[in-house]
Amino acid sequence: MSVHKRADEIEWKMFDDESLLLNIRTGFYFRLNAVGSYIWSNLDGSRNDNEIIRMIADTFDTTSEQAQTDYRAFIAELSQEKLILNV
């Protein structure tokens, strides 16, 4: 099971329930909604994908299937933008 971690060159700040991400290398920035922020804050490399999916399902009161689908899609986008690393 994969473990993902935030890339070093990403600076981020919480703003209410949103997260603001800045890629220092490219200068591009991104905004994450509440669920995205929750996932992002947990991508510290200490939990694997399954653990985070379970946490999402518990916190946001959704099925683990739905949580898994959303999580995979989100992780794919973060990877594409080089915001995370697969450790």
Binding site: L20, F28, R31
Partner: protein
Amino acid sequence: MKNEQLFLSQLCKIVVNEKVSAFHEFKEMTFNEPLLIKKCNYHQVLPLVYYYREELQKQFPVLSEDFFRQARTYSVFNATRVMVYENFLAELDKKLSERQIEYRILKGLVMASELYPASYLRAFGDLDIIVKPESITRLNDVLTDLGFQLSEDLYSVFPESIIRKYSFARHYIRSTATNIAVDVHLNLSGKLHAFQFDIEDFWKNSRSVKIGGRSYPTFSNEYLTVYLLYHAFKHHYFKLMWLIDFFKVMDTPTLDVGEFERLIVEYKMEKLWRIFIRICDEIFGQLPVSAASPFLVKYSPIDSRHINAGSVLRGVQPYSPSKARIILPMVYLSGFGRKTRFLFRQLFPPREVIRDFYCRKDLALNWRNYFKLRKKTILEMMNL
């Protein structure tokens, strides 16, 4: 007072008090919300509107959700901006250290980091730094390496010698995914300014400021405060944000009020302080804690016809920048002699100044041409 002005004044009271003891509710009041957004944007207080929205919603229940949503959008933008600038500053600091270029940070980012509950609450347009004149060429190289270009503004048409001589600020812009602007100052006052700061003294009185978890050099609290007082008056306090900054910095417990007084006396800025405390009283409904210190309590507030709470809240500059450069010092300078000397110097600057700015190369700089060149300015003055 118009409703929009009352709103701004209430916002100021909330910002400096955190909680307003006397609760007001302006139920009957109606607002032109697009105009209010425009005013708040002009005064650069939209992030404060968002931050203090609960108190404001209680006091102004008529304001729509959309109004606060717009304030939020601007706040998110500003929070991102702070992050962009914090990262850039770390990069710039590293380069400047490598090249052994001494610098100090001024205004916006320092205020944002030290005076407000969150750094995004203090909007700013650019990064202001000051360097010594001998470092400007090396600094230019650093900024060019980092992708900056000198802005094509008025100053870029002057040769290097004139920029140095009159200590003009240079405006650099980096146009990438995240636009960054840097204002490089060589001095805090120029040859033609109303006050002549001893810049060497400022350099000697420095400290560090924490921005984004890292330390950077700036001037000591008292010196920075004196400069803020002058800078805000020079611009007619036309942004409420500057007034809030100055109130907050005067409320800082670590400010050495005795030293601040020494500086305002040394630079003969007592009148600016006295006008400021009158404006404070009217807009904030109170004075900063430092105003009650034994050092400053002797300065009584004074009214000014030109610079007052009404003019600040209206947020409209009544004069063109060139007229304001002459009129405003006539308001805030103290003493007939100083006013006269300043006015005389503005009307009849040294011939070298005329040569530097106005004289065509083929025009001999004799007294006849000198007066011909001054005629327009003098006629303008007579029409004020």
